[in-house]
Every structure is written in structure tokens, then in C-alpha cells.
Symmetry: C2
Subunit: 103 residues, 2 copies
């Protein structure tokens, strides 16, 4: 069992999104991304049958890519990881990413 | 793509935990459970190689089962779904459950 306390991962970097790997198994990878205003996860995709979940924990921004729309705390997008996806922060923003199964 | 806004699922039931299916694919099932104080997800397990993630969104309680420990907003347990697991709320508590892959 892996126990994760998200408050331990509230680190930000003025130069680039702060990224940490929280969990990794063949079934599931969980990543934490913390963004300063204006930082972004550029639009990208992977040729795989996996699903990706983007979950906004705190802050506001925009989901980017095929399914562009406003992003705010408590919203999630779940999609095939081959759909172009990304995120741009307009405030400080914390994001969890779930990749299922791991690529 | 499935868009989920967690504030739309903040329903509680005085008689039992309020459960909603938020997403379901072969790779991933996402369930929302909302508990009134004292309500619980009884300890259970499944014979499968899947992982289960218990993520507390709001409130306080106890993770039950093999990995019993305090549960509060912003904490997660990730484990094989065959490890006995559950949760009891001491305050109003909101939980997301990710099953990867779907059983």
C-alpha cells in the first residue's frame, strides 16, 4: 500500500511546472503537477489504449487540446491518452494526472 | 472525453453512503461516495490484480482494513484491490474511488 498526503507535494517552481511521481505500477501511474500562473503542460498525446485523467485540485486555468475548456478546482477530464491534451494555469494550480494503465 | 465537475455530486443520504458512478471504461472506473458522520464503506476486497485508489476530497475519518489509519482531505491510499479496505467517516466525508483496471 502506498499512502499519499497531497499537502507534502505543494511545491512550486518559478521556472517550470513542478512535477512529482506519486505512484507507479503496471496498472496506474499518478503524477502531481503544480503550476505558477502562466505555466502550462503543453498539448501532447501518446499512441496507446490507456486512459488519462486530469484532476484539478486547486486553482483555475484552461484544459488545452482536443477538449479545450475552462479548468478549476474540482473538475476532471477523462479521455483516451491518444487525445491531444494539456493544461494552462491562470492562477496557481495543482493538478493530479492518472494514467491507466501505465504506458 | 468525459468531463466531471465534482460539485455536482455533493449529495448525501442520511440512511446510507451516497454512491455515484462517475466514469467507467475497461481501464478505469471512478466512483464517488459521500458519507454522513458515522457512515462507512465496509471492509471488503476483490480477487483481482487491479489497483484501488481511495482519495479523500473533504472531511475526516478512518481508512479501515489491512491498512487502517486516519483519513482526511487530501490523503490517498493506493493498494491492490485484493487488500481488505474500507473507510468510516467521523465528519461529513467525500471519497473518490479509482479502480484500475475495471474488475
Amino acid at each position: 500500500m502506498k499512502f499519499i498526503d497531497l499537502k507534502e507535494f505543494a511545491k512550486f517552481d518559478p521556472n517550470k511546472p513542478h512535477r512529482e511521481l506519486l505512484y507507479d505500477s503496471p496498472n496506474l501511474r499518478v503524477l502531481s503537477f503544480n503550476f505558477e500562473p502562466g505555466q502550462e503542460l503543453p498539448v501532447h498525446c501518446h499512441e496507446s489504449d490507456s486512459d488519462v485523467t486530469l484532476m484539478v485540485l486547486e486553482g483555475e486555468g484552461e484544459f488545452l487540446g482536443t477538449h479545450a475548456m475552462p479548468a478549476r478546482a474540482g473538475t476532471l477530464q477523462v479521455m483516451p491518452v491518444c487525445d491531444p491534451h494539456g493544461l494552462k494555469a491562470t492562477t496557481r494550480l495543482r493538478l493530479l494526472v492518472f494514467i491507466t494503465p501505465t504506458l
